[in-house]
Symmetry: C2
Subunit: 362 residues, 2 copies
């Protein structure tokens, strides 16, 4: 019998936001990898896309529109040409009646899908943009969010970075899918945060969590922080270098951020993304997105149990070409990770947040 | 305003086993793909692994053991050399006390990880094995299951097929991870099936589901069936060609199958896997696994709300080299699919289940 040691032995950790567990197996760290090795995707540096042939560039003509894109200088927003959601579907009586069917349940999904280009240059990723460039991205997020939030219950801003994450165009961009319903993740977090709030006399789950990370755990899992924001590898992180980015103040939605908070956000995002790229000297792939209080008609409800946060889910685990596969056991039973969140936080903390590996003189 | 049509317009479907929704967007079927294209992995035909250098082969010496593998003729079971679970960890007082902590919750994870080789030949996949070969696999599943079920609450048998699914060795094999706790998926299905059972006076969720698929929906989503088994693309399927394989009789666990049912299982598995390979003329990658009633000390509880079933989660969507990416929106909001389950079922139904594309004379 070995005595349990969190840094050496398998254990499960609970994610109170999602009400689920993750299996942590630090003893597997020494496992050799004989499986698939990915191609190193350097994030556009060798991307010779002619400005005019990439459909996301200023002046380009997209296959589905006859009008050329404007010669935009900062960001550019347009409707996805192949939206996963449609806005103008009439209610279906047949389907509506089915909603008390316990086995075959279905509802119409109404919404819109937008694309936001971050910058005119196809080969410039966020960590290598200026703070001014990034501030335009943040302002555009807020504008698009505010516009859609007036109509839809949930506005999901997300970025798929790198072709390993299914991103089909290297031009820096993100997407926004807004829906007239709460998707699964939103619905669950709405419930878990509300339950915590009720049980703990109006305390906010994520604010209590931050407080304890700072005081009780001495920033063991904190990667970086500034006056208004922090980045933490959550105690329950699933992906090897997963992080959560959140404001220190109680903020419900992206649209509630002050000017100072927006400035601080640009700074900490750039720092985090430089660290990520420096980890394996590659343009670090990830999916990221924002979660905040519901909107549309749901904003009439009390949502003060919510705390705005962004999530970064990067797949790489050992190098620029070896990713973590969430397959078999993960799909059928439970997420599993090898490196501990504490190990990941320390590795990220130790990297430069100022000098991007591509800008290093040597 | 368009009138809602399930074959053309975005909608959400409810998965009563997992208590979550999937977004179906059939209008996206025409979307061109400009993103990552995978390599075609033909499942071992060009796999020139010398029998002696592949560590899963008869007579091979694995890096971590000095003893050579036996010269096995059918299946071969051994303990995973890099297990994600350990069995001999003592209880930790410190962690135990933390279990009433709403934010930092953790428990020791005890268990074992085994590997089952299906066949001595490295380049033979299940669909190309004889029915006799497959019956040895099924018997081994049951033996290993029975052995571990006496001690552990959950015995997860799963197969990762193809390097796209993180499988690091092309030799036909699966894994078994047994744990002293219910992993997330098991815990949720335990609850949902029990709730349904209680609400519907002792009816079993999946048996009611089958009945309605056959009678009310005229096998619209059924791919194949025989006397004892059926394969269906569930109404709520997430992966493009996801299927569920289940017995027609009320069966709680793999170990409850009669001899006839075991024979029927081998037949229908071979047929399904031939269809899968024939879909894109490739050795179809997937993760698959078995779910049945809990075991260990939990088998003392009444588990008659459970129905045994296997799940196949294949990633391919358009061809041998284009897969569905579950990223961005899927990770942050809700699973999304383009082709409808009905479309997938029809495509699979129309393929030969007898002649594998590699065995076709032309
Ligand atoms: O087969 P392996 O090498 O143990 O590992 C594979 O399956 C495991 C269980 O699904 C996953 O945790 C790994 O990420 C995957 O690469
Ligand atoms: O960026 P695209 O081409 O729209 O598509 C990508 O992101 C979507 C949203 O996360 C996913 O549904 C697709 O599978 C992925 O390839």
């Amino acid at each position: 019998m070995m005595n349990f040691d969190r840094t050496k032995h398998s254990h499960c950790r609970y994610n109170p936001l999602k009400d689920e567990w993750v299996l942590v197996s630090p003893q597997r760290l020494s496992r050799p990898w004989q499986g698939r090795v990915e191609e190193d995707d350097d994030g556009g540096d060798t991307n010779n896309n002619q400005q005019s042939t990439n459909p996301l560039c200023p002046g380009a003509i997209r296959r589905e529109t006859s009008q050329p894109n404007p010669f935009y200088e900062h960001t550019f927003v347009f409707d996805n040409d192949y939206p996963a959601l449609l806005s103008d579907i009439a209610a279906d009586e047949n389907e509506k009646n089915k909603n008390d069917d316990d086995l075959f349940q279905c509802h119409v999904a109404r919404g819109v899908c937008k694309v936001i280009c971050f910058h005119p240059n196809s080969n410039l990723t966020l960590p290598r943009m200026t703070l001014d460039d990034i501030s335009h991205v943040i302002k555009t997020w807020i504008d698009v969010y505010q516009d859609l939030a007036s109509k839809y219950q949930w506005v999901q801003i997300f970025e798929n970075r790198g072709d390993m994450m299914g991103c089909s165009n290297p031009h820096p961009h993100c997407q926004v899918w807004a829906t007239d319903f709460l998707p699964n993740e939103a619905r669950i977090k709405h419930r878990t945060q509300k339950d915590y709030f009720t049980k703990h006399n109006g305390n906010v789950l994520l604010l209590d969590y931050i407080k304890r990370e700072f005081n009780e755990f001495k920033k063991e899992r904190v990667v970086i922080d500034n006056e208004h924001w922090l980045v933490v590898v959550p105690y329950w992180a699933v992906w090897p270098y997963e992080t959560m980015l959140l404001p220190k103040r109680h903020v419900l939605r992206l649209s509630d951020l002050t000017d100072d908070e927006q400035t601080g956000l640009g700074q900490i995002m750039k720092q985090l993304l430089i660290k990520y790229d420096n980890l394996f000297n590659t343009s670090f792939p990830y999916s990221m997105g924002w979660h905040g209080a519901p909107t549309g008609d749901l904003s009439n409800e009390d949502c003060s149990h919510w705390q705005l946060h962004a999530l970064y889910y990067p797949p790489l685990v050992r190098s620029a070409t070896i990713k973590k596969f969430m397959v078999g056991y993960e799909m059928l039973a439970q997420a599993q990770r090898d490196i501990t969140p504490e190990y990941a936080a320390e590795a990220l903390r130790n990297l430069s947040s100022e000098i991007h590996y591509k800008d290093k003189k040597n």
